[in-house]
């Protein structure tokens, strides 16, 4: 019954591969979920073809928000900024492989919202960034 905390989530939470900060970076953005205070910053380095070569996240929050950030960054290495712009919440949920209620969905989606706001160069990580079609 602890599907939400299946091993892959706990593993990415406890031993994240992409935790840290990149300095210098090409893209950096941070925001928080005001409801629970989860905070995520994402830094990216991209090459001349707009392909992500390096990524890192920092911040604090629950296992879902932090593991989701780590899984997401692992996924986008080698992807183009255009491909990142196409990502939706369904893509992220597929990466996580868990069902989430409305409250915890916000935890999971924070990293994707921060990533897309950074890539689009927006001032705010709004919900509309992660909606599907």
């Amino acid at each position: 019954m602890d599907d939400l905390y299946r091993e892959v989530i706990i593993e990415h939470y406890k031993n994240p591969g992409f935790r840290g900060e990149l300095d210098p970076h090409d893209i950096s953005f941070e925001d928080e979920n005001p409801l629970c205070g989860d905070h995520i910053r994402i830094d990216l380095r991209v090459n001349e073809n707009e392909v992500v070569t390096e990524a890192a996240f920092s911040g604090h929050g629950c296992a879902i928000s932090q593991a989701s950030a780590d899984l997401l960054l692992e996924f986008i290495i080698g992807k183009t900024l255009d491909e990142i712009r196409q990502l939706t919440k369904d893509d992220l949920l597929e990466l996580l492989g868990i069902e989430l209620g409305p409250v915890r969905l916000k935890c999971a989606l924070l990293s994707l919202k921060v990533l897309k706001a950074g890539v689009y160069g927006l001032g705010e990580a709004s919900d509309s960034l992660v909606e599907g079609d």
Partner: protein, 409 residues
């Protein structure tokens, strides 16, 4: 004092019988957010709507008379519960937040000018912060804060220094909804009066859990909510001293708060009606009155003693779990609230895993973000207790935390 018959008390609360997961009964440890409701409160409100419902005041038919009587009886009952001498000192509001806003708008705007000082504390709920921040922005009023010590108490020495600023108002919580700290309200009020200030007590957490007497405290305003004391949501109370209330301008305008209305002007009603514009929440007042009867039938001293026993046991048990850090003072200076962090798991994950074991707790900043900033933590998990809480439920909490550790360890 005889210990409470908890088994009998638990039977009064239908929701406590609910199975949350197959074979797992609800363990409700979230009473600081809202208390559960005994059958007699639910039935009193049901009976009101089935038998007596009408709009109050001025109706001549029997329903209107009954509804008016029930509403005003509720006011007298609430007055008696907090030791107020005069039922006119009881104003019905929607909740604690609205009661505090009423004082900020009405008393604050009539009495405060640029440069005046209001003293608050670092442990306030947002409901006793934001109304004053709004007033401060509008009127250039200065806000000062009594600091909280590392062990969760108000720094009374710093308070005495702040009083030298000749504040107009000292507004503070009698019991912290995060730390559980029961503040020395009588002393804080006496010192404030000596310095020429009036006082407002946020009683949202204290009135449901410990005996509170407004005359003994000599408090000027007391705000609290029905829903945290076994009554319904949507009903709250502002107590105010007659002399203050009579001089205050109305809060909201509309029906019931007027004596007379002309096209271009009005004459306000007398207290308490002056502050109760529009059709009030009559059924909710009836429910609150039934909750008062229920709490009186058990006795506030017995309730406080029971919660002291449960919180002492909870602190003893939780302190034995490595990695648990509990905020706030020891059991002797604390009500039935235990907020804590666990080193290896975030409060939301803790709460989520506890819920899988049927245990309802709260995780987050509990509407006290500045207090969490003070302790440099983003969030805590909070377990809170009431008359129906048991030692066995504390044991469930401890077992649940062991599960959290097994998953995250």
């Amino acid at each position: 004092m005889n210990p409470l018959d908890i088994e009998a008390i638990r039977k009064d609360f239908p929701i406590l019988q609910r199975e949350i997961h197959p074979g797992k009964q609800l363990v409700y440890l979230d009473s600081a957010a809202t208390a559960q409701k005994p059958t007699r409160v639910i039935e009193a409100m049901d009976r009101y709507y089935r038998w007596s419902n009408a709009n109050i005041h001025r109706g001549v038919h029997v329903l209107a008379e009954e509804a008016t009587m029930l509403y005003e009886d509720a006011r007298r009952n609430v007055a008696g519960f907090i030791g107020a001498r005069d039922a006119r000192e009881i104003i019905f509001t929607r909740n604690t937040t609205e009661a505090i806003n009423l004082v900020a708008y009405s008393w604050g705007r009539a009495n405060l000018q640029a440069g005046d000082v209001i003293i608050l504390t670092e442990m306030e709920h947002h409901s006793n912060l934001v109304p004053w921040q709004m007033l401060a922005q509008e009127r250039q009023v200065r806000l000062e804060f009594i600091p909280v010590t590392d062990d969760g108490l108000l720094d009374m020495e710093e308070y005495q220094k702040l009083l030298m600023l000749a504040p107009k108002l000292v507004a503070f919580t009698q019991m912290s909804n995060v730390l559980g700290t029961i503040n020395p309200a009588g002393e804080i009020i006496r010192l404030a009066h000596d310095a020429g200030a009036i006082t407002l007590v946020d009683g949202a957490q204290s009135v449901p859990h410990i005996p509170v007497n407004v005359v003994d405290l000599d408090v000027d305003f007391l705000a609290f909510s029905a829903h945290k004391m076994c009554g319904p949501m949507g009903s709250g109370v502002l107590y105010g001293k007659t002399a203050l209330l009579e001089k205050m301008p109305p809060f909201l305008g509309g029906g019931d708060m007027i004596r007379k209305v002309m096209l271009r002007s009005y004459a306000p009603n007398s207290i308490p009606h002056k502050f109760e514009a529009g059709t009030p929440a009559v059924a909710e007042a009836v429910g609150l009155s039934a909750a008062v009867d229920y709490l009186n039938s058990i006795g506030m001293d017995a309730i406080a003693a029971h919660e002291h026993e449960i919180v002492s046991y909870a602190l003893e048990q939780l302190n034995q779990i490595p990695g648990v850090r509990i905020l706030g003072p020891d059991a002797d200076r604390k009500g039935g609230v235990v907020s804590f962090t666990l080193d290896i798991a975030h409060p939301h994950d803790v709460a989520q895993i506890l819920y899988r074991h049927g245990i309802a707790v709260r995780a987050g900043h509990h509407c006290a973000m500045p207090l969490h900033d003070r302790y440099q933590i983003p969030a805590t998990t909070r377990a809170s207790f009431y008359i129906y809480s048991t030692r066995e439920e504390v044991d469930h909490l401890v077992q649940g935390l062991e599960q959290v550790k097994a998953i995250f360890g």
